[in-house]
């Protein structure tokens, strides 16, 4: 059984700075695996490692050419993938949900023979919760989100979904796409030997032309991306001294007995 896990490569947001005009400065900001996709990779790796004779894990990302980062791809390989596919093309910069899903669908067809596709809950940048769903629809195969658990019995995948008010149990036949919640699995701490062997695993670099993907037109313009003005706060601070602590506690008390009462 071939399992494919999709991940997004995003800017490391703690390294993003703000320009004087409130736009974002990405200069020298590294790319990392999007936070919740680490959980998806872990969920997929645990599923594969439960039956390593029969199951194989492949990882795939699509994005612009800036996602070319050897540390990032090694990180993914160290987490249980046997090979990594990167589809890189500058036409995919700030790609919309449908464009990304079309590119991933084309890559899935190119890789071929995939039985189960695992995606994360949403990406760190736009957190749209859409890619796995739209991917499944484009491929014309069963797709569900909010997956908190799944297991395979032959070609049947038994899935548990955690919805806002309900727990739902469903069954689908492979091939299928599951978007898993980050609660399903916590990312592992990579061992040194995993990182060492990761460097020897095959990495395939492809362009949109290589996967015969013609990207649909964008349906939205991005007008601007700016850091909002912060809500004004009083910013009264108390030192870590006995006196400072007492003053802070009295401040809490005053607030609760007057305006915050």
């Amino acid at each position: 059984m071939n399992v494919l896990v999709c991940f997004k490569s995003v800017y490391d947001d703690v390294a993003i700075r703000t320009n004087s005009d409130k736009t974002l400065d990405y200069q020298a900001v590294p790319h990392i695996v999007s936070l919740y996709d680490l959980n998806a990779i872990e969920a997929a790796a645990q599923f594969v490692e439960a039956d390593p004779e029969d199951r194989n894990l492949i990882a795939l990302t699509v994005g612009d050419t800036k996602i070319h980062d050897t540390t990032m791809r090694k990180n993914v390989a160290a987490r249980g993938a046997s090979e990594v596919y990167l589809v890189m093309d500058d036409a995919l910069e700030d790609a919309e949900t449908h464009q990304t899903a079309q590119a991933v669908a084309a890559a899935v067809k190119k890789i071929g023979d995939i039985d189960l596709i695992i995606c994360g809950d949403g990406s760190a940048d736009v957190y749209a919760h859409q890619m796995g769903i739209q991917l499944g629809e484009i491929l014309g195969i069963p797709n569900v989100n909010a997956v908190i658990d799944f297991k395979a019995e032959g070609n049947t995948i038994k899935v548990t979904r955690e919805l806002d008010e309900e727990i739902e149990h469903i069954e689908v036949q492979t091939p299928a796409v599951l978007s898993v919640l980050s609660d399903m699995a916590q990312p592992r701490i990579c061992q040194v030997k995993d990182i060492m062997t990761a460097g020897r695993k095959p990495v395939h670099e492809l362009t949109l032309a290589d996967i015969q993907c013609e990207l649909p037109a964008a349906q939205y313009q991005i007008l601007e991306t700016k850091v909002p003005e912060p809500t004004p706060r009083k910013m009264v601070f108390f030192e870590a001294t006995d006196e400072g602590i007492d003053q802070f506690i009295e401040q809490v008390h005053t607030y609760l007995t007057t305006e915050g009462a």
Partner: protein
Amino acid sequence: MKIFVIAEREQPVSELCAGARQFAEEVDLVALPTTQVVDGVADKVYRLEVPEGRMMEDAYVALANLIEQERPDAVFAESSRRIQLLLGRTAARVGGSVISNVNAMPGAKEASTMYFGGLANRKYKGEDGTTSFFFVRPATFPDAEPSGNNVEVMVPFVEPSYEVKRTEVGPRVKGDVDLPSAKRIVSVGRGIKEEKDLDMVRELCSLIDAELGCSRSIYEAENWLPKEALVGISGSTVVPDLYLTLGISGQAQHMVACDGATTIMCVNTDPYALIFEHSDYGSKADLYTVVPRMIEYFKAHPLK
């Protein structure tokens, strides 16, 4: 201008219909079997029919057909798990993209969204002649009023090309926490070292009548608190009078979810932590010193 609204719960039904009415002559509500339809909010109420034993999201084929036939300029949606799936499938079927986390709408096809969990706002404008799909956050249209005669239209089920078998469905057991309506919240982060240390925080909470919340780092790394206690873009958005943080660093994805608090206070030993820039009052002392002294203080000076 024609806008479709898709929502499940009463409040988003009213809010999104009201917001849509600011821009559109025709506002139509698309209702799932679970939708709490509110009187007088839309011109038409399209009821998606779902056969017994099927997941509601399988109604997407019928919804996609309806959208292709009616060609709304925009769809405003509540970001529930079911609607994420329903609308994602629908959008893919009609070749559309979806914009999520909308927190302001200057126009029917213009949306400001949270980028990197609130680090920045990104503004989008939907191209003319396309249907724009927006997942809109709560409280985006504070002053709008809904209107309409709610003319009912049934939308018959259409089979998808693949089968999803629903074997069982039951209620989700939730944690005994209700942060969105809490007036006072004490929220803990990485600064808490052990689970048993939550006992003193709980004692403080009971003394000042506060609910206990937490940051994502502590929610994900430890299994100490239920999901309902999580404050952040992937958890609850809160609007208390007092938001007191203990050992929380103040990342954008957390702060965006508590920015509506009237007063924010923090305790953090790192004087350079981002949280201080977002706080009205802050203590640079160790929470392990501050919390026991607060407990002592509020025992001696109980709040009425």
